[in-house]
């Protein structure tokens, strides 16, 4: 199975950007990529040995849609030290398949103003730098 390519922008030693997880593809059109079971189509984001649904052993890489539906959320007020609060954690169903957890951004932190079932779209944001100046990039969702 081919390894998911790390989308690294920039030359060696200069403004290196790296996805925070390997199922995020950066570049001009940031999107998520899943391992899709060749036998049943089940989607996964983690390293696979076989399919949890049908035990198939062959997988393809499938780029996923960048738009979807807000299926659930919670507003976190008590978190580990260093995690800014409040923030909104959400579960998003992507159009055409794939369910993913990520932060919901630009929707405020007032539960009354966050609509379950609303359309959302993928965005990216920097989430940290290491000692060598590399920038980690994460994904989240914003109201579409």
């Amino acid at each position: 199975m081919p390894r998911v390519a790390l989308a690294v922008v920039g030359e060696e030693g200069k403004s290196r950007r790296i996805p925070v997880v390997d199922y995020l593809v950066l570049g001009d059109d940031p999107h998520l990529v899943a391992k899709a079971c060749r036998a049943c189509g089940a989607l996964y984001f983690d390293r696979r040995n076989a399919c949890a649904r049908c035990s198939g052993r062959d997988f393809d890489h499938r780029p996923l849609a960048t738009i979807g539906t807000l299926r659930s959320f919670t507003i976190i007020h008590r978190a580990a030290p260093g995690v800014p609060v409040p923030y909104v954690s959400s579960v998003v169903e992507l159009d055409g398949g794939g369910v993913v957890k990520a932060n919901l951004l630009e929707a405020g932190t007032d539960a009354e103003k966050i609509d379950l079932g609303m359309a959302v779209k993928l965005t990216t944001f920097p989430c940290g730098t290491d000692d060598e100046g590399s920038e980690a990039v994460a994904f989240g969702f914003v109201p579409a």
Binding site: R53, I75, A80, G82, S89, V99, K101, S134
Partner: protein, 401 residues
């Protein structure tokens, strides 16, 4: 059908904080009290199953034996997240069903101290010296709080809000009403960690942890132990009439794990395996949800209890909000749920929980629950969920007199 298994003795410690005792002390107290309750001794036990999640590799069962009776019998040390205690009970029960034992002891214990609501995962993360993708997701850093939350209060909040997204009439207030009920119930249970009633306004106005779960809608950490003595049908017939009269039948013992669902990629599913366990338990026991006189279910968070009303078929599909609105799960309602105070107020020492809920239901079926007694209780159900996930459901019935 294989012969029945009976609970002939059961006990629990008061849940709370015991900084001057250890897990072996707590397990000993519960085990000895359960043996006394059964009129039995360690010499009668042919198998021991011990559940303690945080000491899963530390031979709790054998250390317990070295305090209360070291008889050389087989010991199973069991871990299954928050279903640890119930899994220990089922391990002992299976030994009886298999004909290897006709009397068995199961003990669940935990000492969590003041671990904090978020547990070990709630620690600050170290800054990495250099980004190197690692692990099953090729991550370059800890992603808690960056890619949503995977900690318990938020995971169960999202499980509840997912239900709210699919069904009308469910919101912050319905979830809060669950906690209002369980705190109120706990005032009648002297073994509960907390015995204090709160108004709906106090619950909704408490510190927000993970919307919609406020602090008063989250179970506390704590210490405690519970134990049951199990016995085969054949052996029961040889026992003292007083033991037989107080015996409680285990009509169903079911353990499930979470089957594949598409949303597993976001977070573990706590509903499908509960629905499957409940269906198997009802079929095995030959009873339906309408026959239940009381239920002790896994209310680790108020959002969890609400969705389990439907998962256990205590309400109509989509009707969990209405069920709590019309006070169906209150002690005087259609199907009393968590009359012990539940995990939210009785407490949740992880390994003890799935044994303590059997203690609670058995005590009602024996008519010995004191002020909180559900009058005339004949059939009850217990349910626990270990996230990841494991689900255990037991159905208990009063001995025909």
């Amino acid at each position: 059908m294989a012969e029945s298994v009976w609970i002939i003795g059961t006990a629990m410690t008061k849940f709370g904080r015991y900084p001057d005792r250890d897990t072996v002390d707590l397990a000993s107290e519960a085990a000895l009290a359960a043996l006394d309750d059964a009129g039995a001794t360690m010499a009668d036990m042919q198998v021991l199953a011990a559940g303690c999640l945080l000491e899963a590799s530390a031979m709790l069962g054998q250390r317990l034996q070295k305090q209360i009776g070291q008889t050389g019998i087989p010991v199973y040390n069991v871990a299954n997240a928050c279903a640890t205690g119930a899994t220990a009970v089922r391990s002992a029960l299976l030994a009886i069903k298999a004909g290897e034992a006709d009397m068995a002891l199961a003990v669940g214990v935990e000492q969590m101290g003041k671990a904090g609501l978020l547990g070990p995962a709630g620690q600050a993360r170290a800054k990495p010296p250099g980004f190197t993708p690692s692990g099953r997701y090729g991550s370059v850093m800890a992603v808690e709080g960056i890619l949503g939350t995977g900690l318990m209060p938020g995971v169960f909040a999202q499980a509840g809000m997912e239900y709210a997204s699919r069904h009308g009439g469910v919101g912050f207030e319905q979830f809060a009403k669950v906690a209002e009920k369980n705190h109120a119930h706990s005032t009648l249970n002297p073994l509960a960690q907390y015995q204090k009633a709160f108004s709906l306004e106090q619950i909704m106005g408490a510190e927000m942890v993970a919307y919609p779960n406020t602090l008063l809608m989250c179970c506390p950490t704590g210490d405690g132990a519970a134990a049951v003595v199990l016995c085969s049908d054949a052996r029961l017939k040889t026992l003292d009439p007083d033991v037989r009269r107080r015996a409680v039948k285990v009509s169903a013992s079911v353990l499930t794990s979470d089957p594949y669902v598409e949303s597993d990629t976001a977070q573990p599913d706590v509903s499908t395996l509960t629905k499957q366990a409940a269906a198997q338990a009802y079929e095995s026991a030959g009873v339906g949800p309408e026959d239940l006189d009381l239920v002790e279910l896994h209310d680790c968070f108020a959002t969890a209890e609400l969705i389990h009303y439907e998962n256990l078929s205590l309400c109509e599909p989509g009707g969990a909000g209405d069920f709590i609105d019309r006070r169906g799960p209150w002690r005087d309602g259609a199907t009393p749920v968590n009359v012990s105070g539940g995990l939210i107020s009785k407490g949740h020492p992880i390994g003890a929980t799935g044994v303590a809920n059997l203690y609670e239901v058995a005590t009602h079926l024996r008519g010995e629950a004191g002020d909180r007694q559900v009058d005339g209780a004949k059939v009850g159900l217990t349910h626990v969920i270990g996230l990841g996930s494991a689900c255990a459901v037991h159905v208990l019935e009063r001995a025909a007199s």
